[in-house]
């Protein structure tokens, strides 16, 4: 026996949450492009499975720009005011499974040497509902990093779109059950995700090659076309680097944290003028090492969900999948030698 929710019931559930003061984040269309956004009206939401989003749900847990504290200076007295903790209920609906999968990957990072109350409070207050994928595209490679089109990793509930416009609901956690309790009907219809995307490279084998080839010229060769912007990192659901800056005036302002990317020259530029990652090859190597060697060593998880957002957003047709495919070639060669 399965549990079904109609599109109308789903909309009403979300509308009720909005009126109760919850923050609802859902897929929306801006022009022809799809973005996750906080919605004020449930009719803004486009509630159907989709491969391509311009942003990930990351920014509702780790915003692209967030105030840490504000300050006011009066004479010699400086008053500091901590930014308030995130304390409303948040419902994130319509995420891709590979997007939600980033959340448990990031949990240990934000609860390691420093307990990041910004991320943690948003996590605690949020319910994440994913849509099982109905299609994949050539950028998708979740299967290579342990994901699947119907993965519930990081999700509180998963919805399978049915042909009649309704959804089969499978609750994963108590939060998911609480959201859908009393909203579904019993049925004998069941949904299914699309076939897993095919991949012809082995990430473990590539990671082994990366460990032994820090100084390989391959890093420079595959990186010539990279122009060093932050698009890949900013659309990535797992990239989490940030910069801390003060904004405002001498007398009044705030300290904020903003997304940052290891692909920019400035990221590692020392005040002396020395840059330990002097070339784009070194910066791409860092990105791949962090995702497939450093983070797994430290937190026992790959820093990549295979969502393909980086390569879809890259202006020069680069990104993690093309990089992995290039590295797979050399990894296979060195294995055969």
């Amino acid at each position: 026996m399965s549990h079904i929710i109609t599109l109308e019931q789903l909309k009403k559930t979300l509308a009720d949450k909005i009126s109760s003061g919850a923050q609802v984040v859902a897929p929306t269309l801006r022009g022809e492009l799809a973005f996750f956004q906080k919605i004020d009206d449930v009719n803004q939401a486009v509630l159907e499975p989709r491969v391509r989003f311009q942003n990930s749900i990351k920014e509702f847990f780790f915003p692209r720009h967030e105030t840490i504290f504000s300050f006011v200076r009066q004479g010699s007295d400086v008053q500091l005011v901590d930014a308030p903790e995130f304390d409303v209920e948040q419902i994130v609906v319509g995420a891709r499974p590979c997007d939600a999968a980033s959340l448990p990957i990031l949990d240990p990072l934000f609860a390691w040497d420093y307990q990041d109350r910004f991320f943690q409070s948003r996590r605690a207050k949020s319910t994440v509902v994913v849509f099982a994928c109905k299609t994949s595209d050539a950028h998708c490679f979740c299967t290579a990093v342990g994901g699947a089109p119907d993965s519930t990793n990081g999700a509180d509930a998963i919805l399978f779109a049915l042909d009649d416009g309704s959804f089969e609901v499978r609750c994963v956690t108590d939060k998911g059950k609480a959201l859908f309790s009393g909203k579904t009907q019993e049925s004998d219809k069941t949904g299914a995700a699309c076939a897993p995307p095919s991949v012809d490279f082995d990430v473990e084998k590539i990671a082994t090659w990366i460990r032994g080839n820090f100084a390989s010229p391959v890093w420079e060769e595959i990186s010539y076309r990279c122009v060093g912007c932050g698009a890949c990192a900013f659309v990535c659901p797992t990239c989490h680097c940030f910069d801390i800056v003060d904004e405002g005036s001498y007398s009044k302002g705030k300290r904020v944290k903003n997304w940052d990317s290891c692909q920019t020259v400035l990221f590692t530029l020392h005040a002396s003028g020395h840059n330990p990652r002097a070339t784009q090859g070194a910066r791409q190597r860092q990105r791949m090492m962090h995702k497939f060697v450093i983070y797994p060593d430290k937190f026992n998880a790959k820093l990549c969900t295979g969502c393909g957002a980086c390569s879809r957003s890259c202006g020069v047709s680069f990104g993690v999948r093309p990089a992995l495919e290039e590295l797979a070639k050399v990894a296979n060669q060195s294995e055969n030698n």
Binding site: R52, A138, Y224, G230, V256, G315, S317
Partner: protein, 298 residues
């Protein structure tokens, strides 16, 4: 054309006229087109030319990693060639240090959200009146066909494509126009893909990266986003060649080409200046002419 292009580049590499060729290749996912760099004459078959060659490769000419490879040959469309001219006129490169290969271009197709080509031409291409690249060392393709396309587009050039969008923008009230850009800029994530893909954004340290003191907010707040996007547009006023690389690279789909067109169009209307037309031309903002309209200059 592709064969002709490959043969020309093979010869240049074999004869050591150049050390590296910067061209287009099917380098991305599912054969998506992006920049590729060929140093070995045996590898020229990696090069392609088709209507998916959206990127302006001239952005690579000033990158340190590419300069290290030696003297470059570069494949350019007419709009990209104008960027090479501006780079020369602004003393960023010496014309004799680059071998410029122009390709006759009959228009580049837009990509949909999945990255597939749509069959529709980019806005800049609908109003293009320069299908054969100028100021090049070698032109590949049918020049007569290019001229025919120029003539076909000329009568409507200022009313179709992104000029049509510009007219719509101009017809808006100031308030509506502000709302339009507010919506556009609110999507900006400050990844600076626009800047990095722009051949004319070559500053070693961009004003957006200055932090002693900070000149503009680095935050992707609405204030920071307005500051960044307007500042970049102003910095490109009278310089932008309209290649559209910024908008094509923007992960948020912001119509940056339209923003830059407003200023390029002002430069043309007010001063009769089209950026990147001629080698040796003085930059618009950096010179004055007694024929300039404003009285204060005299």
């Amino acid at each position: 054309m592709e064969t002709e292009l490959r043969n020309a580049i093979r010869k240049l590499l074999e004869e050591k006229t150049v050390d590296v060729a910067i061209g287009y290749g099917r380098v991305g996912v599912n054969g998506a087109v992006g920049a590729t760099f060929v140093t070995n004459p045996d590898d020229v078959d990696r090069l392609v030319w088709n209507n998916e060659c959206r990127q302006n490769l001239a952005t690579h000419l000033t990158r340190a990693e590419i300069k290290k490879l030696g003297k470059p040959a570069i494949v350019v469309k007419a709009c990209d060639a104008r960027a090479v001219v501006v780079l020369c006129n602004e003393a960023q490169i010496k014309r004799e240090d680059v071998y410029v290969i122009g390709v006759v271009c009959d228009g580049i197709e837009t990509a949909d959200a999945a990255g597939n080509k749509t069959g529709a031409l980019m806005g800049k291409c609908l109003s293009c009146v320069e299908h054969a690249a100028k100021n090049v060392d070698l032109l590949i393709g049918d020049e007569a066909a290019a001229k025919a396309l120029d003539e076909k587009n000329a009568p409507n050039a200022k009313s179709v494509g992104h000029y049509e969008k510009l007219a719509k923008l101009r017809a808006m009230s100031q308030k509506e126009r502000f709302e339009y850009w507010r919506e556009q800029f609110s999507k900006c994530i400050r990844c600076h893909a626009c800047r990095q893909n722009c051949p004319l954004c070559y500053c070693n340290r961009c004003v957006a990266d200055k932090n002693r003191p900070t000149r503009i907010d680095t935050s992707s707040s609405l204030k920071g986003n307005f500051a960044w996007n307007i500042l970049r547009a102003f910095h490109l006023a009278g310089r932008c060649v309209g290649c559209g690389a910024c908008a094509a690279a923007c992960p948020a789909g912001i119509e940056l080409d339209l923003l830059n067109l407003t200023l390029a169009n002002a430069a043309e209307d007010q001063f009769g200046y089209v950026s990147g037309k001629e080698l040796g031309e003085l930059p618009l903002i950096g010179t004055y002419s007694p024929t300039d309209k404003e009285e204060f200059i005299r």
